[in-house]
């Protein structure tokens, strides 16, 4: 992101409530003198791109018990509490494993949004 000045975000289809997550990512990008660039992609492709570092984050509905939970760093639900059912998909931001600055910043923003 810092090299290109762009933060590449994939928003999964059927995510009509992505706005708060995108606002958080836009704030983060702005604080690093970058701009948000939306990339369209479907679930499997987008998460594979995230793993490979082709996108910086994926916004979509994911269950806590998602099969991708070890491959990417899924955030807590955005704008709501964790559902009791760990298989219920809710709005989350998937971040690339090891991108700890982005992970901590979004974790903080999500916690603040929930308060």
């Amino acid at each position: 992101m810092t090299r290109t000045g762009e933060m590449r975000i994939a928003v999964l289809p059927a995510t009509p409530d992505a706005a708060p997550a995108l606002a958080m990512l836009r704030t983060y990008a702005r604080s690093h003198d970058a701009r948000l660039m939306r990339i369209s992609g479907h679930g499997e492709h987008a998460l594979r791109w995230l793993e490979e570092g082709k996108v910086d984050a994926v916004v979509g509905h994911f269950a806590k018990a998602s099969p991708w939970q070890a491959e990417v760093a899924l955030s807590k639900p955005v704008g709501r509490h964790e559902p009791d059912d760990s298989k219920q998909p809710v709005l989350r931001i998937a971040r690339r494993n090891g991108e700890n600055a982005l992970i901590l910043a979004t974790d903080r923003a999500i916690a603040e949004l929930g308060q």
Binding site: N97, N100, L104, D107, R108
Partner: protein
């Protein structure tokens, strides 16, 4: 004490001291495992440290078991007593120490080869979201103290009573605190990016 049973009077006090230290070891190391498990997250270094701490309980347990058996007097079934229990305990303790070394080496090499990126995010406590790495460092610092002190006390006792199991346990404690320090360096490394 008879020829084949019991603890010789010359080392009885040191053996009792060793036993007390092993009970303290179990209590402290269980608390260390609990604290580490609470904050380990998805960090491979932390997982390795927790597993290493669990395995480090083995020498203490087998030392206590072997002393319990060694105190028994010979009987018809075991006319030469139970002193060889110590050799069995040594085998178990040494295997545990070897397993810890093997596990740490395997985990480190595979993580390096796969170029895994450790993820340490935030945790919300009392309304504040802090970096989980700080908690990990605090837990690791706590995990360093008991084995450093207990291992330091055990080593001369193990030498005096010529007990291989207690000696192995002192070495295990050395591995414990060294793993803790290496873990702290790893977490700081993650923090620095």
């Amino acid at each position: 004490m008879s020829l084949h049973g019991g603890i010789p009077a010359a080392i009885a006090d040191d053996v009792r001291h060793g036993e007390r230290l092993e009970w303290w070891t179990l209590a402290w190391m269980i608390s260390v495992v609990a604290v580490m498990a609470l904050v380990m997250g998805s960090s491979q270094a932390m997982k390795a440290a927790v597993i290493e701490d669990v395995l480090s309980l083995v020498p203490a347990i087998v030392f206590l078991l072997s002393i319990h058996w060694e105190r028994k007097q010979p009987n018809r079934r075991f006319p030469f007593g139970y002193r060889r229990a110590n050799s069995l305990a040594f085998l178990v303790a040494a295997t545990a120490l070897l397993s810890v070394g093997g596990f740490l080496a395997y985990e480190s090499v595979t993580a390096l080869v796969r170029q895994e990126h450790p993820t340490v995010g935030g945790i919300t406590l009392f309304g504040h979201t802090i970096w989980l790495g700080w908690l990990m460092i605090a837990a690791l610092a706590y995990s360093v103290v008991p084995p450093l002190i207990l291992g330091h006390i055990k080593h001369p006792i193990a030498t005096r009573i010529r007990d291989k199991v207690l000696h192995t346990d002192a070495l295990m404690q050395k591995a414990d605190w060294q793993t803790g320090l290496a873990g702290i360096a790893g977490i700081i490394g993650i923090g620095l990016g």
